[in-house]
Symmetry: C2
Subunit: 396 residues, 2 copies
DNA sequence: CGTACTTCTTCCTGTTACGGGACAAAGACG
DNA sequence: CGTCTTTGTCCCGTAACAGGAAGAAGTACG
């Protein structure tokens, strides 16, 4: 299949492409309404896009009362690849240019095995997707890694949980493998972009997105744009202090949020409770599985286990405490809670909400929804394809 | 004097005006270099600006090796007014279009006396400045108030420390009085803009500016633009919790930063120490003045008083603790510390730095200057005139 | 002092972008 | 079948714009 070589030649074409991406196939007339381009200009630019093959005609549009219009859509053969490397798993997905997921694979994998092993796994999964027929080649790829990234170069910098990745040229390597443009970002930023593209944050311009997985991170969106900070480490809230006399954290400090609540901390606490026989429910699960995870705590809580509920409640309170501070500082229009522990569901959310609404000023919380993420495991890969398509659908 | 009626007609003119504002009188050639406009375009736009009277010719520029150029400068008669209403004082300043302060008055005043009284005071001071001859009328005014503002309307909303101001049409009222455009913002945001315009933050695009005065607030600048948040309360960090079992705060919660450290809290603590005879130095000052302020603590610390130093050290640690969290979240390129208590000087700064560098990740703090504000009492008014000039020097 | 070279400004022209009117095409509606 | 609406195309006048040419006003140097 011929791959996308052309790029929008100007800002107008870029706007048209994004409009087509976000609202699907569209008639010229509707496009004109949306982008507020004059008819002549629209005709010229659409014709050029048709020439380059980025968009194609696609049957007739529904009539709006007069002559029927021909639909325009992004070339149906375009394919984007989204890769989400988590601490303990890898997600790979293929989408069309409208960012609809055509194929999605997940594989458990420890990121600490290093970039070479992980890349091998990713390329394996990509091959599987190729074999399944959803894609031949790719026009662009986005990839997220669980640590800070020097964004312009697409290189992880000083990632705490993934030694061996520091300085590894992720962008360059993947681009070489796939033969297409690649963009790299923090996995949490991608989650935020995913929710902004296709999830709960679709119409919000200032929000943040807390991801509670193995660790805790936070994607910050200001004016519709991801805020990455000076060194790409914005949103790194896992090591904010929640208790001066709190637990020792791997980072060397005391009382970090992550030490008190995260997928890893929760599992540890649950196992401790099980061993100390404080919870029959958890003890049984530990017996059965040999170890516990956040999912076990969720299940125990759903079964009414008091200890599990307490763990969730306290974790939510800790998280809420931090979020309350950030809400005061940032005054967002929405807070999204996502990540592996979203299985903890309503209990966690309620606990967070209580804390935030109690601790932040009414002016900031008055109209502040705190909601669970909508996309689940697809958020990361959706954000990844959004990232690369934003890049490609922008004027050169 | 004829007042500015014209506004830049397009983005190019706006850019030219801002360039002239920020780098002073300039030759056409240099302007061309700075704004990267073609000679023809530059000539046309400059001519139009000359016609409208916004800029004037101003003698010959220094030669750069060939024919000398005529200088262009912003009309010397343009006058902006900056008003900074603090919790306990009012600042009023007049600047020219290059935002150089031509006259500056300060007057102690309790904002709780309400908008009518404060406005009367402000207008009084304005009249004094007028009488001194630095200005006749004004082409625009910026005004800062110590509380959240609904920015587009220029109206304070639910300000905790200034009851009676809620909903008062500050913008409308001042505009009526002065007969010129007015913009209103939070005083802390203005301080940040001031430091960005003429202080330490001149070349930084992402930073925040912590103002420790009667209360504590924080101006957040993202990509060179002040971030005001959804309801205009961004940066309201005074009520972030620093100690779950901490002091009771006026807001109803426990352990707010402001309850533990701020101009007001510091004075209270110092008086307590004086009464309990823990510090001879402070007791003496209390005796002399009848009450203590942050300045007294600063003086006592300078004299080597241990209690005063401890107070500063602990306050700095509390503040640093909060800032550390915000640094992790936001990853700024600079942190500015300002406000009334900057008199506390190096001790405070050192204490804050220690805490931030210890508690935030190296990636975020590695190249993070934490510096005192440069402009002192002029920051607010400078930010205010910057605000209005940004507004006026933008395409209609 | 004169000549060569720079820099700066103005004038001019060809190109491109753009908006909107006129008109044709295609369907909706009665 | 006729009329109305919507859509797409063509076309033209206007404005924006870049860059060349030439003149004005300096400097550098013999």
């Amino acid at each position: 299949m011929r791959r996308m070589t052309a790029r929008p030649a100007n800002a107008h074409q870029a706007r048209l492409l994004r409009a087509l991406r976000d609202s699907g196939p569209n008639s010229r007339a509707q496009l004109g309404d949306e982008t507020e381009l004059s008819r002549s200009k629209l005709a010229v630019e659409v014709d050029r896009l048709l020439e380059t093959g980025l968009v194609v005609a696609d049957g007739l549009a529904a009539s709006r009362g007069g002559r029927r219009s021909h639909n325009i859509r992004l070339a149906p053969g375009l394919r984007f690849l989204g890769v989400d490397i988590g601490a303990t798993s890898v997600d790979v997905a293929v989408t069309n240019a409208e960012l609809e997921i055509l194929g999605h694979l997940t594989h458990p994998m420890d990121v600490r095995e290093g970039p070479v092993a992980v890349f091998e796994q990713v390329l394996n999964m990509v091959q599987k997707l190729r074999d399944s027929g959803v894609a031949d080649g790719f026009d662009g790829a986005g990839i997220g890694v669980p640590g800070p990234v020097r964004f312009p170069e697409g290189v992880p910098v000083a990632p705490p949980i993934m030694p061996g990745w520091d300085g590894f040229p992720v962008r360059e390597a993947l681009s070489q493998e796939l033969g297409c443009p690649v963009m790299v970002d923090n996995d949490v930023n991608l989650m935020a972009m995913g929710e902004q593209q296709a999830g709960v944050a679709r119409s919000v311009r200032d929000f943040f997105c807390v991801k509670i997985g193995t660790g805790i991170g936070c994607g910050v969106v200001v004016g519709g744009v991801v805020h990455r900070g000076m060194t790409g480490s914005a949103g790194d809230i896992g090591h904010i202090q929640v208790d001066p006399e709190g637990r020792q954290c791997a980072c060397g400090n005391r009382g970090c949020l992550e030490a008190h609540f995260s997928g890893a901390a929760l599992a540890r606490d649950a196992e401790a409770a099980a061993r100390e026989d404080r919870s029959v429910e958890l003890a049984g699960r530990l017996e059965a599985a040999g170890r516990l995870s956040a999912a076990d705590v969720a299940a125990a809580a759903a079964a009414g286990d008091g200890v599990a509920l307490d763990l969730i409640q306290e974790g939510g309170a800790r998280t809420g405490q931090v979020i309350a501070g950030l809400v005061s500082f940032f005054n967002p229009g929405l807070v999204v809670i996502g990540g592996g522990v979203t299985g903890l569901g309503h209990h966690l959310l309620a606990s967070i909400r209580t804390q935030v609404y109690r601790r932040s000023l009414p002016l900031a919380t008055g109209n502040l929804p705190i909601v669970p993420a909508e996309l689940g495991p697809a958020a990361g890969v959706t954000g990844a394809v959004r990232l690369i398509s934003d890049h490609l659908f922008s004027p050169a």
